[in-house]
């Protein structure tokens, strides 16, 4: 607690999610202590109390947690043993190890979700090429999807395998690296969707409008809120998101990424037990941002309304740039027709394909709003004048 009685929240990881939590913490009077690997990490640049340390180190985590009223996370790549030690010592970790296990271990997640009757693609835990082939033939042929059980992120750790030779190669490489695999049905999709839920420890939940995540090469380029899909698809997505939050005992935000398949199924793709790129639209476009609701959930405060502030809200990611810095292009990017755009920069150096920030836009017309956001993102990244 601070001298004036406000809570101290520790955030493990100095990425952009922590940065945006810090922004949300200021008006709520919450003091943020950050565990960051480097002093120039995205969040460390805007945080008044930075501890340099590793999310893999038990000592670093346990020392960091002392004096925090609650510890939360910028990413899931955190030592679970350390979190258990913190909890055993009376510390508060939200989300806790029970919840994080769902995001860290895809086999565990698929098993638990399937057992609970949640819609997941057919899957199998596999170690050999023969097992992958047997799974493929059981499903009527190639391709199948193969995933690392642990460590997948934004497309890395996920492979589409379309032949016995491909399965051989992948299984051999995985065995060599000691990576456990699962294989899944390759879902032919119409759309990818996401649903964000904020949850308090006691179970109170609020759910954001279902969004479409526009992906290219496994990377999210845009998010459209609300998702332009039929009402029954929205309803199924909302029900899944709420059930996932409940089953995982989430605290703060849990994001469920979904496939809407050509066969009209709504299936769980991935989950993230923290604020998520698919919810960045909420900073400008919803009554309460996902970052404010994450902190409110973590502190067991009442959650905020999730409704949209405009008929259409669009987020466009800034992925790499054709210039060394985005700074000289800020003025040009802001020069957009009313009601304009809201850039959110992450304070990161430019690298090819790296998420450098995002742009939000609000409007009455989904097509015009999307054009406005995408145009501003293109200007900022040097891909348009």
């Amino acid at each position: 607690m601070t001298p004036d009685g406000f809570p101290v929240v520790g955030i493990v990881g100095g990425g952009q999610l922590a940065r945006m939590m810090i922004q949300a913490a200021i008006p709520l009077g919450i003091h943020i202590r950050l565990l960051s690997e480097r002093a120039d990490d995205s969040a460390a640049r805007v945080c008044t109390e930075v501890v340099i340390g590793s999310p893999d180190s038990i000592d670093d985590l346990v020392n960091f947690a002392a004096g925090c009223d609650a510890v939360t996370l910028d990413h899931e790549l955190v030592n679970l043993d350390a979190l258990e030690r913190i909890e055993a010592a009376g510390g508060v970790v939200r989300p806790g190890p029970f919840t994080l296990a769902f995001a860290k271990d895809k086999a565990h997640q698929r098993r638990e979700f399937a057992a609970a009757g949640l819609p997941v693609p057919e899957f199998a835990e596999v170690t050999t090429a023969e097992e992958i082939e047997a799974f493929a033939s059981r499903l009527g042929g190639w391709p199948v999807v193969v995933k690392a059980q642990r460590g997948g992120y934004d497309g890395r750790g996920v492979w589409v395998v379309d032949s016995p030779e491909g399965a051989d190669e992948l299984a051999a490489e995985a065995a060599e690296r000691g990576v456990a695999l699962i294989t899944e049905r390759f879902v032919r999709i119409k759309n990818e969707l996401a649903v964000l839920v904020a949850r308090r420890p006691g179970g109170q939940m609020v759910v954001y409008p279902v969004v479409e995540t526009v992906q290219r090469d496994g990377i999210c380029h845009e998010v459209l809120a609300p998702a332009p899909v039929p009402p029954d698809v929205v309803e199924r997505a909302l029900a899944i998101g709420l059930r996932v939050a409940d089953l995982t005992c989430a605290t703060g935000i849990v994001a469920t990424e979904l496939f809407w398949s050509e066969g009209d199924e709504v299936l769980i793709n991935e989950i993230a037990t923290r604020p998520h790129n698919s919810g960045h639209f909420s900073i400008d476009g919803a009554q309460t941002s996902q970052f404010a609701n994450h902190l409110r959930g973590v502190l067991d405060w009442p959650l905020g309304d999730t409704s949209l502030l405009a008929p259409a809200v669009v987020m466009a990611n800034l992925l790499g740039a054709d210039s060394e810095s985005l700074a000289p292009r800020m003025a040009a990017a802001l020069r957009q027709p009313a009601p304009g755009v809201h850039p959110h920069l992450y304070g990161k150096g430019v690298r090819p394909g790296r998420k450098l920030g995002h742009v939000n836009a609000l409007g009455d017309d989904p097509v015009e709003t999307r054009e406005r956001a995408v145009r501003a993102a293109a200007v900022l990244t040097g891909r348009a004048e």
Copy 2:
């Protein structure tokens, strides 16, 4: 400039306005350097680069400005000679001394505005009780308003004088303290209004919807957006706000506080050449907050749209509290009917009547929205359960 090419903006003064500018600077990638008198000032608590110094000290200001791409202000109580020195040395001060003179010197402001044909109450520069009496009798009797030419703020430095004895007493005290006075007509008002304009150095302007500021004992308690007044009053207020911004060569935000009189006049009361309490509604309730638009104006970036995000937006100030800290009341304050409330705390210790923060609420109905904001403010300050 930062190593990655983003601008460094220096803010003189560590109050809540600087704090909210810092929050607005994060997504825009702007680095803030703060000149604050104390390390625990409102803004200093959330700023990564704090220089301790005095806004009265020429040396402190000149040293502080070195390396800033632009210097702006949390309040007007700044040494103008220092700002001129900074400009003479090639530094950028926005708003500059020309603009600040209008806010610092009420006699100068009234003279200039009256000469430009802007509606100000009848006024006179006075030094003696006899001059105040002569002014009163010229206007048909008591009361009249007497103001310190310099240093008035939120009701302090403004007196209502209703008798020759009162004039005697005030004139004597002012003479003793070396305070120059002006006297003005006492305006009988229906409503107090405010209009905020953001302006770029080249003259581009945007104007926020006219708001009503609900005052009690000279202190603003609530702000209602849009102001519930007839369209012709709104039009006159907007025209005055734009003309004030133009005449004062404002950069960033300039706020004009207005009287709507019983005789249906719209008259200038005060101006502030910086973000202003009457614009705090815009953080949650407008497309672009006044703090983002202030920074955009200061950096000569294109300005953002000012339209409201809901039919009714209300701000309620947190003025003192019946408890030592607001922290234990956060959960209760957030427990409001949808769409809820947005608290903004300033990180200040509780003192009687002190502005500790504000609460914004958005809604469809002005009455319900106001009740929601006021109720949350009452809970936070310990005046309601």
